[in-house]
């Protein structure tokens, strides 16, 4: 009987959804599979105002099924191969989950090598976003003509020499990742209880130089950001505009002194007022994080369980929280390295103190984190025991449950495995960074649409302004792994409340 009721209810829901989908929609559909593609449906009411906007992404199917029944030790390889965007983040989160699963504490040098690899990856990945992915919005400019708002436009603005510098630095960082992990894309460094490879004494000077150059590069990037973005009052106005502002909770990993840490620590959550709300080890994440399901999206929307789901609203009553660079800075008391701390202080003094709620400030927070990643690389590569050969503690305990966490470039990343006594997987749960952010991203998209569509009229630059709203988060959904030779155009279809198409906009 219960099943029947469920069936009837589902059918009714499906029909209601279908009927609703039939009418009143504007579609923004950037169909490129790179790092996942998004689709935005905007529904107008009878006055031509935006009623709701839905941000949809394709689903990565069958992941859990693929993993179950396999040995847990395969997970650092499998998870890093599913997504070509942040292989290192999955690799290290997975390795840490295995430490927990087998109840082993790696030797100090092994932890340092993992953290060194991790910070190298963060610097590389953040640099890619600042210059290449987010760069067109800020370096070229949000209002620049579409045909130059791309990577070539970035190079024209910053100069060919800077372009070469970015490409060279990124290549060198990746070579170091390959040295440690075998391959950038499928690292094989992490093992439960340690790492598979150390750093040879003879190779050390080259990597010390790389860390030094990496810091110069990060500080140079901070200067580029100051010169191009902060000296332009229009950009600053845009960053702080209400369209791109949401007062949510913030989450990030912190060390013992509540300073940002990418590799390890406790998860800290602060309220929209910036007060500490929770501070807990990742093993307790299920006490704090719950997932809300909407019929229109494959993505589950994470929210703070004790606060509760109160719809797509911000404020202290709503359990919606954010992760990623801005959230990490907000959730901490500062940075653990001196030059990053200076950059952090400048960030908050310009933007009016902690916490900063402006989504577009994420780009700047990312640059602050580049400085931290580079400084941390320098600290670690110069540790006296970084060339130690004591790199592994062999697990002896029977496995059961293992949970690991890192701060991925795009935010808090949690791997949770449960196995039988032979280490064969019986349960796999991942909370990926973008999933933590998904509710806030959905709100950002909707707010931008509401600000730009009135009386059925769509303002100039709608596509880019909406995209800017989610590009700042650097969202990475059903992370596709590689580049395709082609692309699909952007399409906006504007319909009135009867479903009639008023206008179609295309970006080829």
């Amino acid at each position: 009987m219960k099943e029947e009721i469920q069936k009837v209810w589902s059918e009714a829901q499906r029909r209601a959804n279908e009927a609703y989908m039939e009418k009143r929609r504007v579609t923004v559909d950037p169909i490129t599979r790179l790092e996942g593609h998004g689709k935005i449906d905007i529904f107008l009411d009878d006055k031509g105002e935006v009623e709701r906007a839905y941000f949809q992404v394709p689903e990565l199917r069958g992941f859990e099924v693929f993993c179950l029944g396999r040995p847990a030790e395969d997970m650092p390889q499998i998870t890093s191969r599913i997504c070509g965007v942040c292989p290192t983040a999955h690799h290290i989160a997975s390795t840490k989950a295995l430490d927990d699963l087998y109840k082993v504490d790696p030797p100090p040098a092994a932890k340092k090598i993992r953290e060194l690899m991790y910070n190298t990856f963060m610097l590389e990945d953040h640099a890619l976003h600042v210059y290449i992915l987010g760069g067109p919005d800020f370096i070229v400019g949000p209002d620049a003509p579409a045909e130059i708002r791309n990577v070539v436009g970035v190079i024209q603005k910053v100069g060919v020499e800077v372009g070469k510098k970015v490409i060279t630095m990124r290549r060198r960082l990746r070579e170091f990742l390959s040295y440690l992990g075998g391959k950038v894309i499928h690292p094989v460094l992490g093992l439960p209880g340690g790492v598979a490879k150390g750093i040879a004494v003879a190779d050390l000077p080259a990597f010390q130089q790389l860390a030094k150059d990496g810091l110069d590069f990060a500080l140079f990037t901070l200067q580029v950001f100051r010169d191009i973005v902060l000296k332009n009052p229009d950009y600053v106005k845009l960053i702080t505009s209400d369209t791109y502002t949401h007062k949510t909770y913030y989450m990030g990993l912190v060390d013992a002194n509540n300073r940002v840490n990418f590799y390890d620590g406790l998860i800290r959550v602060v309220t929209p007022e910036g007060k500490e709300y929770a501070r807990f080890p990742v093993q307790k994440y299920l006490d704090y994080v719950a997932e809300h399901v909407e019929p229109w999206s494959y993505v589950k929307f994470c929210y703070l369980k004790p606060v509760g789901w109160n719809g797509f609203t911000d404020g202290i009553e709503s359990g919606i929280y954010a992760v990623a660079p801005l959230a990490r800075l907000n959730a901490s008391d500062g940075m653990a390295t001196p030059q990053a701390q200076t950059a952090h202080d400048e960030f908050y003094s310009v933007l009016g103190g902690k916490p900063v709620h402006h989504t577009l400030a994420t780009h700047w927070a990312r640059v602050v984190e580049m400085v931290y990643a580079a400084e941390r690389m320098n600290e670690l590569i110069n540790e006296p025991d970084i060339t130690s050969k004591e790199l592994r503690v062999i697990p002896t305990e029977t496995p059961e449950i293992g949970i690991g966490v890192v701060e991925a470039p795009r935010g808090t990343l949690i791997h949770h495995y449960e196995t039988d006594e032979n280490g064969i997987l019986r349960k796999v749960n991942l909370i990926v960074a973008t999933q933590n952010n998904s509710a806030r991203i959905a709100m950002s998209v909707e707010k931008a649409a509401k600000g730009l569509i009135h009386k059925g009229e769509v303002s100039e630059g709608l596509l880019n302004k909406i995209e800017m709203a989610f590009r700042a988060y650097d969202p990475c959904h059903a992370c596709a792994t590689h580049s395709l030779p082609g692309h699909m155009p952007l399409l906006v279809t504007i319909r009135d409340d009867s479903g009639k198409i008023l206008q179609e906009l295309k970006q080829e």
Partner: protein, 171 residues
């Protein structure tokens, strides 16, 4: 000496997305058995064959230094049936005007490499298979996509032989 790179792109664990990798692997196998194969001619390598699961900017590390690039990849336009073959050249690459969240495809990598004066290939050929499902984690290709592999392998070898001939003439 003219150098050609045959590069297969895709993700081994994402169903149809692996098609580019499978094709270049088979090309390599078959060319081993050919008496006058274009991979090495008179002890000089003409064609290097590589696979990559990487994307975007990372591709620059692979392709710089070659004269000619031949890519085998998957593509999803939704406009043609799965298994259809797209053949594209550098003239088909236009720098994308409207950016999507992360758009950094081969066209942008191509433009970026040229804009920064890197030693980029002068010519580009892309073979892309229209795929059905690149979103399910798994190692099985859908039948429509699987069926195109032998024909595409043949087509790629034919193309490599053609450009190798040209290479020898240029020598």
């Amino acid at each position: 000496m003219k150098k050609v790179l045959l590069l297969g792109l895709g993700n081994e664990l994402r169903s149809d997305d692996a098609v580019g990798l499978r094709v270049v692997r088979q090309v390599q196998e078959q060319m081993k058995n050919m008496p006058d194969e274009p991979v090495s001619s008179q002890k000089e390598t003409l064609v290097d064959i590589m696979e990559s699961e990487e994307m975007g900017l990372a591709l620059l590390d692979y392709i710089t230094g070659y004269d000619e690039l031949v890519l085998v990849d998957s593509l999803q336009t939704g406009k043609v049936p799965p298994g259809s073959l797209h053949e594209l050249g550098e003239e088909d690459l236009k720098v994308v005007k409207g950016l999507s969240p992360h758009y950094l495809g081969i066209s942008e990598v191509w433009a970026l490499g040229h804009a920064t004066g890197l030693p980029m290939p002068r010519r580009l050929k892309i073979f892309a298979v229209e795929v059905k499902d690149p979103f399910t984690v798994g190692t099985q290709l859908s039948p429509e996509v699987n069926e195109t592999i032998p024909g595409l392998v043949f087509r790629v070898i034919q193309y490599l032989m053609k450009i190798s001939e040209r290479g020898r003439e240029l020598k």
